[in-house]
């Protein structure tokens, strides 16, 4: 088990119902994709937020990563919709 901070933004945050949480990741989660599937199963809010995991953007330690990225070394993992700034 590894402790990480999860952060959520925009409608991902709204659907999950919290902006951030500290969580113990099970050792069998290897990649971002594994994490998204595991979170989906937690409750209806997560399921709703992550229903289309392919559109979810992910940052590990404040850098963009793709869904194949491994979770080792992650202290902060953020999930959010595609960006619409600028």
């Amino acid at each position: 088990m590894t402790a990480v901070k999860l952060r959520y933004f925009a409608w991902v945050r709204e659907r999950i119902g919290t902006a951030e949480e500290d969580i113990e990741l099970p050792a069998n989660l290897n990649t971002v994709r594994d994490l998204l599937l595991w979170l989906q199963a937690r409750d209806d809010g997560y399921a709703e937020a992550l229903r289309h995991p392919e559109v979810i953007r992910v940052a590990i330690n404040q850098e963009h990563v793709d869904h194949k990225e491994r979770l080792e070394g992650a202290r902060e993992i953020a999930l959010f919709p595609p960006m619409t700034g600028g």
Binding site: F9, Q62, E63, A78, P81, T84, G85
Partner: protein
Amino acid sequence: MGGSTVVPTVRIQQEDFDLAEEVARLSAGGSNIGAVVTFSGLCRDEDGRLSALELEHYPGMAEAEIGRIAEEAIRRWPLTGLTAIHRHGLIVPGENIVVVIAASSHRQAAFEAAAFMMDFLKTRAPFWKREHLIDGTPGPWVDATEADETSTRRW
């Protein structure tokens, strides 16, 4: 004189800023600047539909990501200065959301670097816009556009 010594200015802030002041700051002491391009992104009212845009951002990563985009621009073009400022919070129509300022000896470099910065700010900087409607209710989150993704892929 190479672009490699240029340190970009990156700021994320709630308060508005003054374009002329930022241009003057960038140009100060640079008597070899031939070209300055600015891009200002303003809040539109969408034909009277919006009372404001609310910009959520990822503190920390927003600065870091825009800094990375700026460093890439400095690697690619011979710039003498580069500034990017992005606001967050509630922004009303007519106000600035973002500004990019690129200075160079060469106009093409200044134009391209500013356009590059904006394309990547749109698709990589962790900001999310939500509409606030004229009747006072929060509207929907703004969808990312395919056009922005396409524009980014040209670089």
